[in-house]
């Protein structure tokens, strides 16, 4: 054991970070906590309400519906983007001049601002003048995302897949590139099939990066706001009103700060809980 006198001065080095985090995370969060237990009137008059707003939100049909829509949306997005991303990464060249071309093409959608992505897809999907919308209608498929819930959902999911599959591709590709050639050579000599190579070499070696990819895609898609509000605005009706859209409606549309704050906290806890579940399940095998 060392008998050194601990030097406490190092704490001062951490101070700037503590201040920064306090201002951009802790203080806003505490403000929300503060709102969530009070009734707000004009001119900054507050009444303490305890857990009333939490009870109200948890029992509200509207919240249940938004949450269900959100869970369905995220589930569909993950179910498409993760396998598709892995498949594209597997198909990409491992070396040669095409590697950088592929990587740049893949990274492109990730570099476009979210509201621009929304605007692009809004325009391309317009049934009367948009390339996609017009083509579909010309082919005899009735398509109008401002009137049909199914069309609205399809458009949102297609947009999300277009925008974010690249992230999974890049992470999976990084994982694949880290596999030494000897593994493939050994598999060849062992007489392994293509499927066995994927199952026993590529997938296990991609595990860590896929964990990160799934977590990021889960969190981001669960919090999606900008793209969806630009394309559908939550409609038609409430059919694409996802959790974040609903939250903004309550907070800024109706100015119900108390219920909105309570809902934010519940929303936050759901994300935290699900992320933890994902992480634990996916890293479970590594521990033993």
């Amino acid at each position: 054991m060392s008998t050194k006198t601990p030097n406490q001065k190092a704490w001062w080095l951490v101070l700037p970070v503590v201040v920064l985090v306090a201002f951009n995370a802790v203080l806003p969060l505490m403000t929300v906590v503060n709102y969530s237990v009070q009734e707000t009137f004009g001119e900054n008059v507050f009444f303490f309400e305890g857990v009333k707003w939490f009870e109200q939100i948890l029992h509200s049909k509207r919240f249940h519906e938004s949450l269900q829509r959100q869970l369905l949306y995220t589930a569909i997005v993950l179910a498409i983007e993760v396998p598709l991303g892995v498949a594209i990464a597997l198909a990409m060249p491992r070396r040669g001049p095409w590697v950088s071309v592929c990587l740049v093409l893949m990274a492109m959608p990730l570099l476009i601002p979210w509201n621009v992505v929304g605007a692009m897809w809004n325009i391309i999907a317009l049934p009367d003048i948009g390339l996609l919308g017009r083509t579909l209608n010309a082919m005899g498929i009735e398509y109008n995302f401002t009137r049909q819930p199914f069309a609205a959902w399809s458009t949102l999911i297609a947009m999300d897949v277009w925008h974010w599959t690249s992230l999974v591709v890049l992470l999976a590709y990084a994982g694949l590139s880290a596999i030494p050639d000897a593994y493939y050579q050994a598999a060849k000599i062992d007489g392994a099939s293509r499927w066995a190579v994927f199952k026993f070499i590529q997938l296990p070696k991609m595990r860590r990066v896929l964990t990160i990819a799934i977590l990021l895609r889960f969190m981001d898609s669960f919090m999606i706001y900008t793209e969806a509000i630009v394309v559908t605005g939550g409609g038609p009706g409430n059919s694409t009103t996802l959790l974040s859209i609903d939250l903004v409606k309550i907070a800024l549309g109706q100015f119900d700060l108390g219920p909105a704050a309570a809902m934010s906290l519940i929303y936050f806890l759901i994300i935290l809980l699900l992320s933890w579940v994902f992480y634990t399940v996916m890293t479970r095998d590594e521990a033993n």
Binding site: Q185, I189, G191, A192, N288
Partner: protein
């Protein structure tokens, strides 16, 4: 089991090799006898791994053919050549148990479950993997994992040849000794043709009956460990094998007498160096240099302890000559005379033996 032959082969990693330096393996013709234990020895980058990958089929040679017995296998992929290879770094299938790892090559070839089980347990006990058969392979130490790799290489009985690519690099020194002995013992038991690639002379000389020394893409010498030691065909072999390496001294050869710094040096056989030779050298291993009452006059410069013997560094005409002196033997001070064993002293012309 098979006789392995590389016929008139050379290989380049460039699509259009222009000059000599573009060839990773220069033209060679090699043959390994059926059931022999062989080593390919050479420094990093000498082309030994390239040669190994050509035999296993991971690489296709630019020119020439690979033959197993009479069959030309040059165009066959690795899985159709029926060979086994153990790599430098452990390759294990992380999600499988040790047992499944060992069974993998057999199951891929649709062997009956009972036979698989028997064979896996046999190999496991050979490598002391028995107690961990049901463990996940991912949790093992580096040498445990390498033992699995070795096991997967050895588990198939009918292979033509087993190749080892510096397999003991990641193994702890004390285990290296045991595994080296194990491999040797294993070869005697299974009798498969084995080729062992390494840059470690001890590994090569203990494992193999026949050692091929490579340097810069060419075969410098092929022979038994004793031949490599007593009669290196090239000064490179003299340097590379032995610790310390062979003394290489600038020499002249006039009227049938070899001289070093003006002093005549006796040779067992009459050398015939080519007239065109630019550089003549005498090579003699430290083991075959002795102190004597007369001979080459030298100055004793330094004495190092080498365990059971001492390495004495002497100097004559600013050229260092090393010799080994046994423990307890009297060492001369300052000046002395050296005598070389004529039988183990060779003349080299431009690096190649001329004796």
């Amino acid at each position: 089991m098979a006789r392995v032959r590389l016929a008139n082969l050379r290989h380049s990693y460039r699509p259009q090799p222009q000059n000599d330096a573009d060839w990773a393996v220069k033209r060679l013709d090699l043959e390994w006898a059926n059931g022999s234990a062989n080593a390919l020895l050479g420094p990093s980058g000498c082309g030994k791994t390239t040669l190994l990958n050509i035999i296993s089929g991971l690489l296709r040679p630019t020119e020439g053919a690979v033959q197993f017995d009479q069959r030309d296998v040059t165009a066959l992929p690795p899985d159709e050549r029926n060979i086994a290879q153990v790599f430098q770094f452990p390759v294990v299938y992380d999600t499988m148990t040790v047992y499944e790892n060992l069974a993998f090559p057999l199951r891929n070839r649709h062997m009956a479950p009972g036979a698989v089980d028997r064979r896996v347990r046999e190999i496991a006990s050979l490598l002391d993997l028995g107690p961990m058969l049901e463990q996940r392979a991912a949790g093992l130490t580096a040498d445990g994992k390498q033992k699995i790799s070795l096991g997967r290489g050895l588990v198939r009985e009918d292979v033509n040849v087993i190749m080892f690519d510096e397999p003991l690099t990641v193994i702890d020194p004390h285990l290296k000794w045991r595994l080296r002995g194990k491999l040797k013992e294993l070869h005697q038991r299974v009798g498969t043709t084995m080729i062992y690639v390494t840059h470690d002379q001890t590994e090569a000389l203990t494992f193999a009956d026949q050692v091929i020394v490579m340097n810069e893409g060419t075969v410098v010498q092929a022979g038994t460990p004793v031949e490599l030691f007593e009669r290196p065909r090239h000064t490179f072999v003299g340097h590379f094998i032995g610790s310390p390496g062979m003394n290489v001294l600038p020499a002249t050869f006039v009227d049938g007498v070899a001289r070093f710094a003006g002093h005549p040096v006796a040779l067992a056989s009459m050398p015939k160096p080519p007239a065109s030779a630019k550089r003549l050298e005498l090579g003699v291993r430290p083991e075959f240099v002795h102190f004597d009452t007369d001979g080459i006059p030298v100055k004793v410069v330094r004495v190092r302890d080498g365990g059971r013997y001492r390495i004495v560094e002497t100097e004559c005409d600013a050229v260092t000559i090393r010799l080994l002196v046994g423990e307890g033997q009297q060492l001369p001070r300052n000046t002395a005379h050296l005598r070389f064993d004529p039988q183990f002293t060779q003349l080299y012309a431009d690096g190649w033996i001329a004796s």
